[in-house]
Amino acid sequence: MTRTDFGPPNYKEMLPPVIKENYGKWKYHERVKPGVLLHVGESGDELYTVRVGSGRLVSTDWIRDICGIAEKFCGGHLRFTSRHNLEFLVSEKEKLEPLIAHLKEEGYAVGGTGHSISNPVHTQGWIHCHTPATDASGIVKAVMDDLFEYFTDWKMPAHCRVSLACCLNMCGAVHCSDIAILGIHRKPPTIDHDIVRSKCEIPNVIAACPTGAIRPDPKAKSLTVTDEKCMYCGNCYTMCPGMPVADPVGDGISIWVGGKISSARTPPKFSRLAIPFLPNNPPRWPEVTDAVRNILETWASHANKHERMGEWIERVGWERFFSLTGIPFSVQLIDDFTLASDTYRSTPAFKW
């Protein structure tokens, strides 16, 4: 019988010696250059970190490759970040530059620190999920190829987090990112009554609809959808395989802006809808990469130092965000879900 409930491997056995010795006794850090951090302990010990971009979807051979590098330069220690970057932990300063040279030679992307575009947090997409409205890995690759200069250098006034989720479940922190890429549907589900009858718990499917668009159909012992009330969230399909909602023409991308997590300067903010629809255009999604670059560079050229996307927009106003980016304002951007009136402007103070 397999043992169970033993939990994760103990992190204490995974820490490099320099971290064990300076644990909780770090004095300060410096951003040495893009991708490189220095942490100094009360003891005077130094730890250099070299951060490297990763596609997140990696093979076991890639893991073995990076293990080889960590064995050569870092005493067999490495870690990953909360944005899926890889970090080499260097306690011997003389190995720092050789490590960086080796990484560049082998084509690894060193960066993702400070005021850079770090790794986009993203999801499964067409690779492993059954509810997506778009792919995840492909768009992230296309966007990061386009924005690569921003990963490896400090060219922005502040942090800018790009995230992607392939459906409204928003796995990850898409709803609180500076720039968020979100897959959406635009057509109501089709209903396969035989599958609904045989596989779905009807009351739970009805309760899963945020707008009350689903009603029972007692005659068919199935369900009916009021199309005018459906905004295609796909949650009924999550509950019931008889209500597929994916559609090659209807599905695509929405772009959201101005979210943040940290409490520095201003409280955390939700991302807000900026572009309601862009087409799925694999493998390079040019409409998406253009839109992301436009928003990023408009912000970067107008924002003050340390002013994140949402802080900048709050200062200049949404009307200015739309005029400066040239993004057309459409009726989909006006909230009509719950608490919508909180988003209406109750003052004549605004800019022309």
Partner: protein
Amino acid sequence: MTEDSKTPLLDQLEEGPWPSFVTEMKRAGEKNEMAKDLLHQLEKSYKNKIGYWKHGGIVGVRGYGGGVIGRYTELPEEFPAIAEFHTFRVNHPSGWFYTTDKLRQLCDVWDKHGSGLTNMHGATGDIILLGAPTDALQPCFDDLAEIDFDLGGSGSDMRTPSCCVGPGRCEFACVDTLDLLHDITNEFQDELHRPMFPYKSKIKISGCANDCVASVARSDFSVIGTWRDEIRMDPDEVANYADGNMDIQAEVVDLCPTGCIKWEAETKTLTIDNGECNRCMHCINLMPKALRPGKDQGATILVGGKAPIVHGALMAWVIVPFMKMEPPYDDFKDFIRTAWEWWDENGKMRERIGELINRLGMRAFLKAMDLPPVPQMISAPRANPYYFWDPEEVK
């Protein structure tokens, strides 16, 4: 290679400077049929702009109700190797610290049983082992157990908690995030492995208000390190920042949200009115050599963060302004257990705790938690007169 087995669309994603997942899929595909079929199914998705994974599927390992995500292709004749292509969520060590020995062991197990493809890591924090057939699940788990990797959470359970790097490498950390994470993950193994709740429940731990694991947005229970006394200051280092290339007035003082920090340029004197500071971290972020969090450290506990489904996205909000966070963390564990019990008792099917609090009101939640209402819980008092009284209070 036949014409059909080519991948002209995905091949384009091997170009460009960012690391290519297609290259990784091809590497795995050289020695594994599952990875090869996955690549070709994805090419078909790219061509037809739609996914080909079937709805759901319940699979698992003996003794657990969560940790494995069942997945079947809609096209088993065309792509037989991924007819069954299930995912393991493997509980990562605190802070995603690894030794290469441990990772190599993991790779060997995964090459033996699965596709050779992984996500490092899933959004909740787990190691994702991407794709194995049903028959391989139990033997794979048996081998994972041999190398001390237990499964993480999925379904209506406590999901795998995660934390920032904390005191492992950050001078801002006000909580031993790594230790607290390891402790509670072990404490709540049953709740993690055997789904028993109305819906999922996530815990995330950040050492300070920078919230480097996005706990406020991505967890039902968000633990964020903070302090109650004064920011520690080294005046000489402040002067050094001023002598360097930092405009302290513009970059630090003018951006302080409460205006509690003042700069006297002539005397190079920085003063902080700590009573007015809301501990946002900005000044400390800008001058880490000169400023540090206070010494009376603990955490703020926020509850209710979640993604939009069903009633809209929520960011977690303050429930406990300050809690000491020291081993064995009994206050925190009691808090979590009490909240789970209330939610389990009152929650509807697939109702997150944040939605339940909104449905029944903060009054009901605070009463169940035996916590006093305090102004730190709100950004503003209500603007409508529709409030309740307990009949007991009107005698």
